[in-house]
């Protein structure tokens, strides 16, 4: 009979670090990781760091404004391409 796993070890939690921060784990795995983080200060710091790095990188990559008049140029190209 398989043991009932109610807690992850640090190793098991760390194996799920990337999927956890990307919210790509199953609900059950998310719950188990969260449960581990509640009792493990070291893993909590590690997970928070990973999430912060992603947030920091995203905030640095600000949305670029498309060049002025791009939509009008595209519209004209489409019109010409249609042969109208």
């Amino acid at each position: 009979m398989l043991p009932v796993l109610n807690l992850y070890t640090c190793k098991e939690a760390m194996e799920r670090l990337n999927d956890y921060v990307d919210r790509e784990l199953s609900p059950r795995e998310m719950q188990l990781v969260k449960r581990h983080l509640k009792i493990c200060h070291e893993c909590t710091k590690r997970f928070a760091f990973e999430e912060d790095v992603i947030r920091q990188v995203r905030s640095k990559l600000e949305s670029l404004q498309e060049p002025e008049g791009l939509m009008a140029r595209l519209s004209q190209k489409i019109y010409e391409d249609k042969g109208d």
Partner: protein, 201 residues
Amino acid sequence: MNSTSTPTSMQQQFEALLGANLRVAYNVARRLTGNAEDAEDLIQEASLQAYRSFKTFEQGTHFRAWFLKIITNLFINRYRKKQREPELTDLDDLSEPTLYSRARRSGASCKGADPAAQVIGKLEADQIEATINALPVEFRLVSILYFVDEMSYQEISDIVGCPIGTVRSRLHRARKALQNRLWELVEPQMQSGLKNARGGK
């Protein structure tokens, strides 16, 4: 598409969808190509191709994903040939210490509540962009969709046409490589800051 649409109304419908998604598309194209001129060329080519096949586009489906897929396919097929790509094997060794462990050793995690901000905050946006652009194209592509458009693994998988497991693996490797390379950029500043802090005591 509605088969009763006149060509003019079809163009209007297409342009309404394109206009609503142009900012995201331009950001992806700009980061894929690395410069404004090639990005506009890529968007233009993708727009023409998308419009030509707009009759096959199913109303109610995700225009943004459909259009980004055209952009990424075009980029891989055409623009990539012009660029010298790093080999996949160039990607950093995953056994290297993590950014977290390096930041901790440097003392960053002890000095404030937000150690990631202490590290990434020292970098300029163009340094981060250049680091992503230096990744091999398969890794760059998933990174751009992930960081710029905050897409899920499934959305990225639909766009790049790879199994979700491949997306996951590439993204995790790309993130690790990105962190390692960003650390190389910021390490001299971290060490210099640490020396100053010690000297000041």
